[in-house]
Symmetry: C2
Subunit: 290 residues, 2 copies
């Protein structure tokens, strides 16, 4: 049976319970992170913990992220479930409310950490690439939550469901000004004349942890990198398009709707960035084990 | 101790627990309704149940609203807590997920019904009126959730917290086109030359249950009613402004930020609509008891 961490305790998933008045349940008041685990090791925990801390401060949830303690809890969940390649999720909500809307009891946030094996087909998809569909609704880049990975996640869930129902891998979200923001689960990039471009945070993408590593990876791979507002036409006219997040890492995009990107094949730049990332992760894991 | 209804069972609040992998907790996948109870009776249940059903269908949560059964559960929560004037909340989430993001087990939604005594100061506030502040962020009227009262409620919670922190009663939200949408918890109306106006649903207000009764109340009170896009300037130049929801009913607004509406006093039209509502509720309660 799966073991999860609930408020620091390790419990069988089936018996892990939270209050029916948790502000996370009733009002979507929480933040979360999805981390990748490879060979039993949590990757880029510091990036995720930094974003988690920023989100908690914006929401004024009084949970203090202590990186060493939190990483130890994450690692124990991975170990307890004997996982090698896995997705790990950390959720922190405002916790149980007094039986009143909006007014949460302060000081008792809820912490949930779960981990499950990764489907190997996710990585294999990198050889064929993702196909995106345009989401039917825009993302509000001026929302106070635009930069927060919050558990008020329904808009993204609906966009994702829409894409999957139509047979696509994900949905492309424009912001309310009509500029490219992100996909429902990933940041988006194009490659044009050897330069990698992605929308600035002001245009509405979530500040993804893998997005934050792209400048470094571009340096290793010997390609230029710039933040720049993008239109759908820019994407369609690009030499390559790819998306990134902590789980899929660098995933080529071969089509948007019925329109193929370039020749409809996965691109060379995305492959080089994934190779650079692979080397970066391998070096880090070697260092931990030495 | 407070009693709540959880999936049809009546349980002490302190021991009511849901799965730590409930999609409501982890991804904000749920809908809710807040109903007013007067003299121990649930008001306008049919309006709330209709909206609940619409939200569930948009979210594709397979919970069937059976009005008679649901009302009986609501009434039992009210009775168990011996409440006279109360706020009652119905929450339905997608329920426990397989230990995988986004993929919920189908067919097991979570139902939570809570009720708490109303603070009498809420009604007394009608004599002084509310003061609103401009929210610092716009509401996305083109969101798929614009018409859904969902538990992905964090944007509204943050706007509400912002207002309360600054000493106001609520925050006024414009949509991403700069037009008036609603407040964080209520629909907004102005009165100009004897005509009541409110923004159309396309401009981003949640279709409030009390908003849905306003045309009827205007008819009784002998004032005209129209849906029309509104600007902040329209509100500031109005003879009166008021807001409505199921709990506060018809609440005068006397100021937006530092700007008073008309003479800064509560308005006559809002009072007449509240009187018409009062009579409507009294007639309904008499009928139930006869």
């Amino acid at each position: 049976m799966d073991t999860i961490c609930l408020n620091g305790e390790f419990i069988a998933l089936e018996s892990a319970r939270v209050s029916a008045t948790d502000a996370g349940l009733l009002l979507g008041e929480g933040v979360f992170e999805t981390l990748r685990v490879e060979r039993g090791q949590v990757l880029f925990a510091e990036d995720h913990f930094a974003r988690l801390g920023r989100g908690l401060r914006i929401l004024e949830i009084p949970f203090v992220v202590e990186p060493e303690n939190l990483l130890a809890l994450c690692q124990q969940v991975v170990d307890a479930n004997e996982l090698e390649d896995a997705r790990l999720r950390i959720t922190v909500t405002r916790g149980p409310m007094r039986n009143q809307p909006i007014v949460a009891r302060e000081g008792e946030p809820t912490l949930v950490i779960t981990a499950t094996a990764l489907d190997a087909r996710m990585d294999e998809k990198r050889y064929r690439g993702w196909r995106l569909v345009m989401a039917p609704h825009p993302r509000n880049h001026r929302s106070p939550l635009a930069t927060v990975k919050s558990t008020s996640y329904l808009e993204s869930s609906l966009a994702r469901r829409y894409a999957v129902r139509l047979g696509f891998d994900d949905a492309l979200l424009l912001n309310t000004d009509g500029l490219v923001a992100e996909t429902s689960v990933a940041n988006i990039f194009l490659v044009q004349s050897g330069l990698v471009k992605t929308p600035p945070i002001a245009d509405g993408p979530l500040p993804g942890t893998m997005r934050g590593r792209i400048a470094e990876l571009c340096g290793v791979a010997g390609v230029g990198f710039a933040e720049e507002s993008l239109t759908v036409e820019d994407l369609l006219a690009a030499d390559e398009v790819f998306v990134t997040n902590a789980l899929i890492q660098v995933m080529p995009v071969v089509a948007i709707g019925e329109r193929e990107i370039a020749d409809g094949q996965t691109g060379a730049c995305a492959a080089r960035l994934q190779t650079a990332l692979r080397a970066r992760i391998d070096a880090e894991l070697r260092e931990r084990w030495s």
